[in-house]
């Protein structure tokens, strides 16, 4: 009987700074290779001595030799992780959760909205779409960060700007910033979407998703095509520990991706 609480060991192959306090870790399982996962799924990462925490996978699902996590240093476990070096060993359980409906989205337009580090779970779907570009119609990414230096995946954003349409904004600009300022919803005036043929997928702080959802409803998006990736304290990943329960649903097992039709019927306010 396999024990689902025992993490698989993985080696830090590489890491790169994305922005102040945000780093991407490239991991390879000791038993070999990467992970089979759907874009939008998450794993539980062990830093031995510090415990486990959930993180979205931020690399393309098509890469089979390794996988990546893009992580903000924010607490005890992430601070300990940032002190590790190449070659150090961490633990991985998962992948867990459902992920984005990449098959259902085929033949449709896709509008992605990300806020801050919330772009991490969108990156695998962006890369999957770009690799299968002819399967999807218009693809737009709206991305908001706090300041220009907080923008993560700068190189990737440049690369992605050819195959897909990208709009950026920052809350507070600096002397070099020529783009938009303001929260991510300001970008809606730059784009044209047909709400009847578009999936809107979003990940960011609850307050961002709240206002983006309002905007999408205003535009006439059907409830089942407004999707969120929700953040909760997923401790076990298997629907046991109770921390991530919202209104009887487990974010770890039933989510983290939910549509507005589901979220609207939650007894508790989710976004």
């Amino acid at each position: 009987m396999k024990n689902p609480y025992i993490p698989k060991l993985a080696v830090i192959e590489d890491m790169r700074e994305e922005a102040p306090g945000i780093r991407t870790f490239r991991l390879k399982l000791k038993e070999g290779g990467g992970l089979d996962f759907n874009p939008g799924q998450f794993i539980e990462l062990t830093v031995f001595g510090y415990g486990e925490a959930p993180f979205s996978i931020s690399s393309s699902p098509l890469l089979k030799d390794f996988f990546e996590l893009t992580i903000r240093k924010i607490g005890t476990l992430t601070s300990a992780l940032f002190k590790l070096n190449k070659g150090n060993t961490v633990g991985i359980r998962g992948p867990f959760g459902n992920g984005w409906p990449i098959e259902k989205m085929k033949g449709m337009n896709v509008l992605m909205v990300g806020g801050g580090i919330g772009i991490a779970p969108l990156k695998p779907v962006i890369e999957y779409i770009i690799a299968n570009r002819e399967d999807y119609n218009n693809v737009i990414l709206l991305y908001g960060a706090r300041t220009p230096s907080d923008i993560v995946f700068k190189k990737e954003l440049e690369k992605w700007s050819k195959p897909i349409e990208i709009h950026l904004t920052v809350d507070i600009g600096d002397e070099t910033w020529r783009g938009r300022t303001g929260v991510v919803t300001v970008l809606f005036d730059e784009i044209e979407v047909n709400p009847k043929e578009t999936y809107a997928i979003q990940c960011g702080p609850p307050i961002m998703m709240h206002f983006v959802t309002k905007k999408l409803i205003e535009l006439g998006f059907p409830e089942d095509r407004i999707l969120f990736s929700l953040e909760r304290l997923m401790k076990c990943g298997m629907g046991f520990c109770g921390h991530c329960m919202i209104s009887g649903k487990f974010v770890c097992r039933d989510g983290p991706v939910f549509d507005y039709g589901q979220v609207k019927n939650f007894l508790e306010i989710a976004v």
Partner: protein, 352 residues
């Protein structure tokens, strides 16, 4: 296949001690014991320690012998760049235990936990303990004020979940057989059991009818209505009232036979090169329960946390495991320092 022993037996109370002594030769025995005026389940080493004729329920349900308050999931050792993990679940192999004296509500509690922990995903530590523990249940002769199992469909009668079931008939116990394992154990020890008579069965029926009638004297809403009532009244004012009373101490969670929420953390040794991964009981009443990285807390106000417990028991569980997950044991009523009575909450919600 041998002849099925579907006929109930009896055993005198003296002989039952002898029976426990024989069980101790082959099993670890968990049974109620009295300590400092309270009755607990614990491992016993002598039949005289067993305090089977306890009133009401034990302070804690037997849950902790299957899902302990602190479970070491594994230990780890860092050697250069390598990490070695020692799976503690493997140490549970070869376990052989008997739990004696579990009430109907507590047996039902384990059946609810089974539905959560043994499914598509599983908790292997729980599963191996469940599979290797025989249960000798004990029906109730008398309900306590806080008992409401008859209303939650979890007692005083019980049809499954035990290997043997005792009913106290004065100088002796009636013994019902609930499984092949239970039957086997009776056969090995048949010299100290007698066949039960029709009168014994009737005596048991009379006791249980009496217990049930006494619990039902205190009316309780129809559970079928509760689901809709709860969904309709999520924002009702009464939650504020109970939220104000609740001290958020988590006692109700820790004495509950079906509360199963837990946290996971690492406990490193002083050398910082080795340590233990621990699963520990947690409480939905704690502020920390929904805190995510960065400090955001999703259930900041106490009413939202008291609701989580009540809704999980009576509403969410129906979607999760197909039934409510309250066994009516009344422990949460018994221990609440703010005298919050979950029966009152339910009655109030259904009236709204």
């Amino acid at each position: 296949m041998g002849e099925r022993m579907d006929k109930a037996k009896t055993i005198s109370k003296d002989a039952f001690k002898e029976f426990i002594g024989r069980l101790l030769e082959n099993f670890q025995v968990i049974a109620p014991v009295r300590r400092e005026g309270k009755v607990f389940y614990d491992l016993v080493s002598h039949p005289n320690e067993v305090m089977i004729e306890y009133k009401g329920h034990t302070l804690l349900p037997p849950k902790r012998f299957f899902f302990p308050e602190k479970e070491i999931l594994f230990t780890y050792e860092l050697v250069n760049d390598e990490v070695i993990i020692y799976d503690k679940c493997e140490e549970l192999e070869g376990l052989k235990r008997v739990l004696i004296g579990a009430r109907a509500c507590d047996i039902k509690g384990l059946e609810y936990l089974d539905k959560v922990f043994i499914g598509e995903y599983h908790n292997p530590y729980y599963k191996v303990r469940r599979e290797n523990t025989l249960i000798i249940g004990l029906t109730c002769n008398e309900p306590m004020d806080y008992c409401f199992c008859a209303h939650t469909g979890s007692g005083p009668r019980i049809e499954s979940g035990y290997d043997l079931l005792l009913t106290d008939l004065g100088d002796y116990y009636l013994v019902d057989v609930g499984s092949e394992e239970g039957e086997k154990i009776l056969k090995y020890n048949i010299d100290i059991f007698k066949d039960a008579s029709e009168e014994d069965l009737q005596a048991k029926e009379k006791i249980l009818s009496n217990v049930e009638a006494r619990i039902r004297e205190d009316p309780f809403p129809d559970l079928d209505k509760m689901y809709d009532s709860l969904i309709k009244n999520f924002n009702a004012e009464l939650w504020e009232k109970y939220g104000e009373r609740c001290l958020a101490c988590g006692k109700c969670n820790f004495v509950c036979p079906t509360c199963r929420c837990f946290d996971i953390y690492d406990d490193p040794n002083l050398d910082l090169k080795s340590g233990r991964r621990i699963m520990v009981w947690d409480s939905c009443h704690f502020l920390s329960f929904t805190r995510v990285a960065g400090g955001l807390v999703f259930r900041k106000e106490r009413p939202s946390r008291i609701k989580q417990r009540v809704y999980h028991k009576y509403c969410y569980s129906i979607d999760e495991i197909g039934s409510i997950s309250c066994t009516g044991c009344g422990r949460c009523i018994d221990v609440c320092p703010a005298s919050i009575d979950i029966r009152e909450i339910v009655r109030e919600v259904v009236k709204l």
